[in-house]
Symmetry: C2
DNA sequence: CAATAGTTTAGAATCGTTCAAGAGAAAAAA
DNA sequence: TTTTTTCTCTTGAACGATTCTAAACTATTG
């Protein structure tokens, strides 16, 4: 079962936060949540905004990505030590990452099962488990 | 069972590559491989070198970390999108990462089992699987 | 020892990202 | 509505990690 009307959901969540529904945030939410789940970087989203005649500064892209992440609308994925990726799919799942093409792809939740878990270091609790399957073109 | 004489092993591998055993590379290999397995960043290794009166430029630290990685003496671990970490333990294993302290810790190989694996994207093969268990102070 | 090929260095350059201050827009108060 | 307050956006500067450049240096080879 898949979430329906993701854009509407995102708008609802936007309203639920203290974030004002500004022109920029609405436009970016529309780009991000209108279709299927996707992955963006600040740069790729900026390009896409310009291509859609949405005038937004790069600083606002960064701010918005972080605000949406804090609001639970996006999830940051760490697969590359030079760039940040954001995933519109915030449910628990893992990733394929092709270092060659720099492309990130979701692994359907449940397709990977992590079996045994060691106890976390003294004084800490687990906040999340990230599995990244790195692939290369055959 | 643990690898013995890790420093000697590293020297042997250094010789096996085309890398010349320069003062800088020998000193860094000694720092990296003389004790137990460890994690470093370019900056942390540079500090440590200075503390041990090893005169090395930061550029050389970066070059050396990458050369050692290519030679299979180090493994790059991606857990942070702003810094690169290098692990002297190159065997297949996973990590705990505390975002608060920025500390990385090995998970003994075998302590985590990844069960089902989905087929990789069309035209690609798996090059490696990284599991990062993110933790926070309780 | 001389010649060559690889290495190191300081400093400049680059990249992704964040910061700062002023201009602008939305919300709240009057 | 108008005013006031608060938040947001923008540009451009600043930043931290990393890479590049070109010259000085060092290991290896003949």
């Amino acid at each position: 079962m898949v979430a329906t009307r993701p854009y509407a959901d995102a708008l609802a969540r936007l309203r639920a936060t203290k974030l004002r529904p500004t022109r920029q945030r609405l436009a970016l939410a529309k780009l991000l949540f209108s279709g299927a789940d996707r992955h963006v970087t600040a740069e790729s989203l900026h390009k896409e905004a310009r291509a859609n005649r949405v005038r937004v500064s790069l600083a606002t892209i960064y701010n918005t990505l972080h605000q949406f992440t804090r609001a639970g609308m996006l999830r940051e994925v760490i697969v590359d030590s030079t760039r940040s990726y954001f995933d519109t799919n915030t449910s628990h799942h893992h990733h394929f990452f092709c270092e060659q093409s720099q492309l990130l792809e979701d692994i359907p939740s449940g397709a990977v099962s992590v079996g045994t878990l060691p106890p976390p270091p003294r004084g800490t609790s687990i906040s999340r488990i990230d599995v990244v399957i790195r692939v290369h073109p055959r």
